[in-house]
Symmetry: C2
Subunit: 366 residues, 2 copies
Amino acid sequence: MRYLQRIEKIQAVLRRKKLDGLLVSQPENRRYLSGYSALDHGIAETAGLLLIPAKGDSWLLTDFRFKLQAEAEAGFLRIGLYPKGLLLLLREMLPDLGIRTLGFESHYTLHSFAEKLNGLGEKIGVRVVPTTDLVEKLRAIKDEDEIAKLRASVDLNEQVFDEVYSSIHLGQTEREIALVLESTMRRMGAQSPSFDTIVATGSNSALPHAVPGPVTIERDQPVMIDMGLILDGYCSDMTRTFVIGEPDEHFLTIHRLVRRAQLAAIETIRAGVAAAKVDTVARDIIAAAGYGQAFGHSLGHGVGLAVHEEPRLSSRNGKKLQAGMVVTVEPGIYLPGWGGVRLENMVVVRADGCELLNINSTWLDL
Amino acid sequence: MRYLQRIEKIQAVLRRKKLDGLLVSQPENRRYLSGYSALDHGIAETAGLLLIPAKGDSWLLTDFRFKLQAEAEAGFLRIGLYPKGLLLLLREMLPDLGIRTLGFESHYTLHSFAEKLNGLGEKIGVRVVPTTDLVEKLRAIKDEDEIAKLRASVDLNEQVFDEVYSSIHLGQTEREIALVLESTMRRMGAQSPSFDTIVATGSNSALPHAVPGPVTIERDQPVMIDMGLILDGYCSDMTRTFVIGEPDEHFLTIHRLVRRAQLAAIETIRAGVAAAKVDTVARDIIAAAGYGQAFGHSLGHGVGLAVHEEPRLSSRNGKKLQAGMVVTVEPGIYLPGWGGVRLENMVVVRADGCELLNINSTWLDL
């Protein structure tokens, strides 16, 4: 069974690191290892944590509200409820399970909770050890089952775009379009958007993370749509920039330049190439045309259960890409006062190159 | 100006606590103090932080992607960009601003980041001090401007419910109804839902946090809808439980019992009463009828910029309610195999009682 195999991999990591157990608080890690799909209300209101001993049965710790869902989705785990808070439950469980050294996820644990966990550890003789990205390292490499789910997510995202694109008209507001996109996602079967949909037109498209507002679509102005959805737990993420009307020469020049940078980056991606190298290939093309300052973010990021995950395609990430990683490639040029162009597709890193998950990518060639 | 006044209140707190500055990472705190409304992608991907010195100008620290939005929305603040990460920027700024003792929000800072901040502090001679809920304490008490926004949010939420309620029919799925509710929210002007809408029917309604699924509405079965939206930054939160068809005696008994507990709690709420007392009043009524074990969550929570905030109406909160607090009152009874009933309204705590924010509350009297 897939989840048990993943848990066994983590248990092997724990034994290697001399940890008797790991507390998994990061929601996508929790889902990856258990299939339990309840959603947190932000980091301060968790729907549960996993307690994975280095050997033996793993536990899903949650509260009353999630008991039935936990049993239905993760019945292969032992379920522990904390009516009076997680710390009191751990105080009983850790000695029972013989856990003397407990790892926790430093990158998804609040400082205030870590302090309390340390306090508990001191009381009951458990050494509490921060860990980072133990599960994320597994998650970064997708198996074919996950890639199939990502492909389905990308595919549905494109279908939603196609359906809504044909209805976009002058005078419609950014906000209306975002609303139609998100409603269409849900109507066509997505669980939800994977992030707040961006629709930005005119000079708003110079904001890489614009929030859709009451601004209307005007003839011949750039329209940037950055959208993604969650299907069966897996995220998609795609950006298109276009005009309703006739693109002028400036738009075409910028669009073609961004597209050229994107294609060159995609051409570079294969297992063994440094992530930073891919970023550099795209960045150099944009910089050579004089727009280096206008491309202020990194080239891309991993996508899986989370819409932003490892690996980053960034000049600061010298690590090599590995087969099975799934990343976005999304160069952009942002010119305050005028607008911006960003183009984003998702690819799977393969041993000998990469595989495009988007189907209608040629749509981007203007 | 409202935001500057709030910042001045926090600066007074900092001086009292002998802190030279505070790093504000919690998104609603950031918005409360600055008006800056950009959304984070979870705690690990912030849209910016505030750096508030005990005296002098405050800063909004963000990255390139949010520069224009930061300037547009929080132009009264100084804007600092961190092209190479927040830590490098702080390394320059803290000595420049003469900050030798820096508070950070322990309850909304990742343990891993706090470790890095401590490391920086050691290098440059800044004492790094965890703080908790400094801004939340201010936020718990709403001014009349905020109460008006909360009232508008509740009002719109009820309008959305009313419109969708009249269209609910047998055979429709939980998921379809949730989708229609969330689309209607946005169409009627909400920024977004304030949490994932819950629509649970039949025995699913025994899960207090059910996720809407493909289950269809059946005649005479309980339907629980827990919904809220964000309007102008402020959240609403409301639960209705009803049947399509004829409620049977069991449903009526449970519904009336929950409603009686709710009304008794509302009757109890006024400034000066302990939060725990309000919880107890409702819980005792449910327990006296033999359903104490079936009411497994606390009675309510504060609502404002966040849908869950201070104060909690819980048996563990012995603090007194204060005028201007806004809370939900939401008793529930959950019977596995049968279903559940939860009723939730929002009230403002006043000196001499409380003010109901919901308008169609009598709808609950069966």
